[in-house]
Symmetry: C2
Subunit: 205 residues, 2 copies
């Protein structure tokens, strides 16, 4: 066990920093926070952006209901308190990814302004980029799409406290970008986001 | 907003997968879970391994008390229930990082076998590598080092339920590797870990 074969061990001073990881990856970690009604197209644009970033050699990672609600937040329900804790934990996980150098694509309805503002604050007080993307479609449009059949259930009273039906959606006051997905092509949405990431120095132009 | 300049947008089928990210990074995501008494040297070897991996162009990220207890787990205390939830959340965060392609270096005392075994199960049932590293030093040695002065406080009764003093440490039954840090040089510990990561296909040999 104590045999020394330290041929590829390179010591240097200090710990590996966020900046070191960013240099390794050729990008800056950042959280791209998609917010909007269910059915607004948050995940669609996040998936499309992820593909393009990956094709460009960037490391991006999506946080969404599939990998969060079934994992770290599986012990949370939908009370006001649990919804706030849901978003807080997602914000803290996103921060860890940003610290690791990753571009986080977070897509959750996240209907309450105070919850989103807390996540922004968590990032900004640590010098981390937080890009709030408001995927803004009229309720009628989202309800017409109803990709998961949730509006239908909410209208039938089978789901209570559903955002847009019997629970409010609080639109961002100052999002970094607004994507009216019913009036833009997916390609145009992705282009607009890439332009913003380049402007913010998250990826090279 | 709708102007089309899709010069660098490349569409392809399907979503970006864990395997795709691994290919991009030239490594396989994995959780290296360091467990052992306070003062055993978990963080020291994690920091050293991180440096070497970074110098080799690998993306590694450390989870430890500094970035977890102050963040995602700041609403947890030290009751048995909260300790279990602490480790569960860390395990779920680690899984997300592994899915992103990152080599996670997790260093927490994590004294209870059931908690660690749950994290292993969470990984293995998702086809993710979980490497349990038992940093094994005698209590007397850890207490002699006492880098944070915690044993002194525990002996004085100023800290209750301190692992090794008035709370048990349950050693791993089948860890992937044991590092007796009082009998090995730091270089030898790092070499042993690098060898294991290569054997498991997490990094290229």
């Amino acid at each position: 066990m104590t045999e020394q074969k330290a041929t590829n061990v390179h010591w240097h001073e200090g710990e590996v920093t966020r900046a070191d990881r960013g240099k390794l990856l050729g990008q800056q970690g950042a959280t791209i926070w998609f917010t909007g009604l269910s059915g607004s197209g948050k995940s669609t644009v996040a998936v499309a952006l992820e593909k393009v970033l990956h094709a460009q050699g960037r490391l991006a990672y999506r946080l969404d209901g599939d990998n969060v609600r079934m994992g770290i937040n599986k012990n949370l329900g939908f009370s006001a308190e649990d919804r706030a804790e849901n978003i807080r934990r997602i914000g803290e996980v996103a921060k860890l990814f940003v610290d690791a150098g990753v571009i986080v694509l977070s897509s959750f309805v996240s209907p309450y302004r105070a919850d989103r503002d807390l996540v922004r604050k968590l990032h900004e007080e640590s010098g981390m980029a937080f890009i709030e993307v408001y995927v803004d479609v009229p309720l009628e449009e989202a309800e017409k799409r109803d990709p998961k059949g949730l509006y239908k259930k909410a209208r039938a009273g089978q789901i209570k406290n559903f955002t847009g039906i019997d629970d409010p959606y609080e639109a961002p006051a100052q999002p970094e970008i607004v994507l009216p997905s019913h009036e833009m092509s997916l390609e145009a949405e992705v282009e607009a986001l890439l332009k913003l990431l380049a402007e913010r120095g998250i990826v090279a132009a």
